[in-house]
Symmetry: C2
Subunit: 377 residues, 2 copies
C-alpha cells in the first residue's frame, strides 16, 4: 500500500474545516477532530481520520444529525441517563464525560449512561479526558453485532470495547481494547494479504472455526447474522471463550442495559435513524480513597515493576498499557502521520463534493495507486 | 478418584462447628461456611469445603487471626478504605460488601476497598449479596503471583478474578472468572491425569510455552518467581494476551492500588502475618438510572435472546453467565455434594486435632483410597 505523510497540524486543519462544512459549529468540529486525531496519534488508524468518509456517509444519510443535541433524561447527584438524539457520537460523549467528571468532582464517583448515540471513535479518548484531570475512568460502548458468543453461530454482541485509565508517572495506565479477540480491521488486513486467520479468531456461518478472512467478512458485511469474530479466549471454554464473552456482556450491561437503549443486536442501519449506539462513562476521584498523590505513586511503582519483570525473550520489551501509545504519539508528532492513498482519495472526493480545494490541505499528491472505493453518498 | 456424598446440611453443620472450634463466634462460623458452601453448590469445588484444611493451616500459623476485626481507615459517603487487620477474608468481605450496599442505598453507588486481608473464597459470593437485594455489583481480589504477563517470564499478577452480577429473571447475570486463562486447579487435574496442557495456558521458567503441568506447578508451588499461567488470550498479542493482562491489571488497580495495599507480587507467606490480600466491592443501585424493574426486564429479555441464539452445534446449549451455577445448585441441593476421599481424610484429621468425633458428621467412611496429604499444622 502507498502512503502519503501529513503533519498532525495539516490533518487537524483539514478535518476541522471539513466537519464545519458538514454542518457543525467550529467548536464542535474541533472536538470531533480531537477525538479522531488522538486515534491517529496513538496508532489506532481504524478509528482516526480514515474514518472521515464513514462519518460523512452517516451524516448524509441522516443517521448522524448535525444539529441534534444530547439531552439528560434522568439524573441524580451520582448519575445521568442521556439520550443522544442521534447527534454525533463524539459530541454526545464529550458532553457525557464532562458531566461524569463534574459529578465525580462533587460526589466522589459518577456513572453517566447514553442511548441513541452513534459511533464515538476510540473509547480511550474519554477515559483520557478524566485521567488528564487526575481521575480514574471507565468507558465502554456497544456496536453493531459482530461477536459470536460461546457455543453460538449467531452474532449478537458487538466488538464492545472496555477502556480504563488511571493516572501514573511517567505515563498513565491506559487500556482500551475490544472484547473480541481481534478487531474487524484485522480481518481486512489478512484478507488483503491473503493470509490464513489464526485459530480462535472467527467462525463461518455454520459456527465452525474459519481461517478464511473473506468468508468471515462476507458474513459480517453481508449482515448474514451468522458467523463472525470470537471473543477474546477463542472458541472453547478450555481457552477461556466464556470469559471474553463475559467481558463483552459487562460492557453491554453497563451501557445499553442501564440506559434502556438498544443492545448491540438491536442496532439499526436505516437512513434518518441513529445507529442506537450506547455508551457508559464511569469516573472515580481517587481522593475518595485518601491521598490521591500517594495512590498515583503506588501505581507508578507497580507499573515500573511490571515493565522491569524478567523478560521471556531478552529482545522483546514488556509494556504496560498505554506505553506503546505514548511512543506512537511522540513519533507521529515528530514524523507526521502516514495516510494510505485510498483514504487520501476519499478525502479528495469529499472535498470535491463539498466544493473545497483539496490541494490547499493535501497538496498535489499522486493518487494513481489509490483504490477507488465504492463509496457513494 | 473416590468420592463420599454428603448432604448440604451435613457439610453445613460440620463446617460451622469446625470454624467455631477454630475460635470464631457461632455467627462468624455461619458466615464463613455460607461462603464456602455456595462455592460447592455452584460447582466451584476448589473454593468450597475442600479448602477447609488450608484455612485451618492459615489460622494455626497466625496468618488469619480469629479475633481480628476489619477497620474502616478512611471514609466518604460513596467510599470506604478498610484495613482487614489479618482477619478471615470472608468476614472482612461480608462486612465490606454490607458497607458498600448501605452506602449505595444512600447515595446511589459506592466503592469499598480492602487491604491486609486474606483469601476470601469466591468473588461471586459478594456480588450475589448485592444482586439478591436488587443491586448491580462488581467484586475483585488480587492473589499470590501466578500470572506471567505478556512478554514476561516472571509471575507478578495474581489470578485476579473479576465478578459482576446484575438482577434478571429467571436468573441473574452472574459472572465470576479469573483473568488467567485457567485456574491453578486445572494444572493439578491435568497433572494427575498425565495430560498435556493446551496451547496458550502456561509457560515454564524460561518463559517458553509449556505443556507439562508438573513443570508449571513446580514453578508456582516452588515459588520460583518465573513460569506460571498465562492471561486469558494466551501467550501472544495475536490471540489477545495483552487483553487478559489488561483485565488482570484492572482488577489489581481497583483493589490493591486504591486501598494502598499489597499488589499481588508483594503478598507475603509468613507465620503471624496476613497474606496482604486486597479486595474491592463496587455497588450500583439501578434506581440511579430510573425504573429498576424496567432495567431488570430489559436485561432479562437480552439474556433470553443470547440463550435463544442459533447454536453452532444443535446438541450444545448456549448459556448466559450464572445459568450453569443455578443448575448445579439445584442438583447439589437435591443430590448432595461429592467430596473426594482425600478431602474427607483431611476433615477427619482436623477433627482428630480438635478432639471432635468426626463420625458424628462424616459417618463411618472407607478412606483406604484417600491419599494422605503432606498437610501438617
Amino acid at each position: 500500500m502507498s502512503y502519503v505523510n501529513y503533519s498532525v497540524e495539516t490533518l487537524k486543519n483539514f478535518c476541522e474545516d471539513i466537519f464545519e462544512k458538514f454542518g457543525f459549529t467550529r467548536r464542535e468540529a474541533e472536538q470531533i477532530t480531537d477525538v479522531l486525531l488522538l486515534a491517529d496519534l496513538y496508532g489506532v488508524q481504524s478509528h482516526g481520520t480514515q474514518r472521515l468518509v464513514r462519518y460523512h456517509k452517516s451524516i448524509m444519510k441522516g443517521c448522524v444529525k448535525t444539529d441534534a443535541k444530547p439531552q439528560i433524561v434522568f439524573e441524580t447527584p451520582v448519575s445521568a441517563v442521556i439520550d443522544g438524539n442521534a447527534a454525533m457520537g463524539q459530541l454526545t460523549s464529550i458532553f457525557a464525560m464532562n458531566k461524569a467528571i463534574e459529578k465525580a468532582r462533587n460526589v466522589g464517583m459518577a456513572f453517566v449512561t447514553v442511548r441513541n448515540s452513534n459511533h464515538y471513535g476510540i473509547a480511550g479518548y474519554y477515559t483520557k479526558m478524566a485521567c488528564d484531570q487526575g481521575l480514574m475512568a471507565i468507558c465502554v460502548t456497544n456496536s453493531e453485532s459482530i461477536m459470536v458468543h460461546t457455543n453460538s453461530k449467531q452474532a449478537i454482541l458487538g466488538s464492545n470495547p472496555i477502556a480504563f485509565a488511571m493516572p501514573a508517572e511517567p505515563y498513565p495506565f491506559w487500556f482500551d481494547a475490544a472484547t473480541t479477540v481481534i478487531p474487524k480491521g484485522k480481518l481486512e488486513v489478512y484478507h488483503k494479504a491473503d493470509k490464513a486467520l489464526h485459530d480462535g479468531w472467527a467462525t463461518d456461518e455454520t459456527g465452525k472455526e474459519c481461517h478464511n478472512a473473506e468468508q468471515v467478512l462476507a458474513c459480517i458485511d453481508g449482515k448474514k447474522g451468522v458467523g463472525g469474530i470470537l471473543p477474546v479466549g477463542g472458541i472453547s471454554e478450555a481457552s477461556g471463550s466464556h470469559k471474553g464473552y463475559g467481558y463483552s456482556m459487562i460492557c453491554e450491561l453497563l451501557c445499553s442495559i442501564t440506559s434502556g437503549g438498544a443492545t448491540s443486536n438491536h442496532h439499526v442501519r436505516k437512513p434518518g435513524q441513529s445507529a442506537g449506539t450506547c455508551h457508559a462513562f464511569i469516573v472515580i476521584d481517587p481522593k475518595i480513597f485518601g491521598d490521591a498523590e500517594k495512590i498515583k505513586a503506588h501505581l507508578s511503582t507497580f507499573l515500573q515493576e511490571l515493565r522491569d519483570a524478567k523478560r521471556a525473550d531478552e529482545s522483546v520489551p514488556i509494556y504496560t498499557h498505554g506505553e506503546k501509545e505514548m511512543y506512537a504519539k511522540e513519533k507521529h508528532l515528530r514524523e507526521g502521520i502516514d495516510v494510505d492513498v485510498s483514504t487520501v482519495l476519499e478525502m479528495v472526493n469529499i472535498c470535491r463534493d463539498l466544493g473545497i480545494d483539496s490541494k490547499k490541505y493535501l497538496g498535489d499528491v499522486d493518487l494513481s495507486n489509490a483504490k477507488e472505493t465504492t463509496y457513494k453518498v
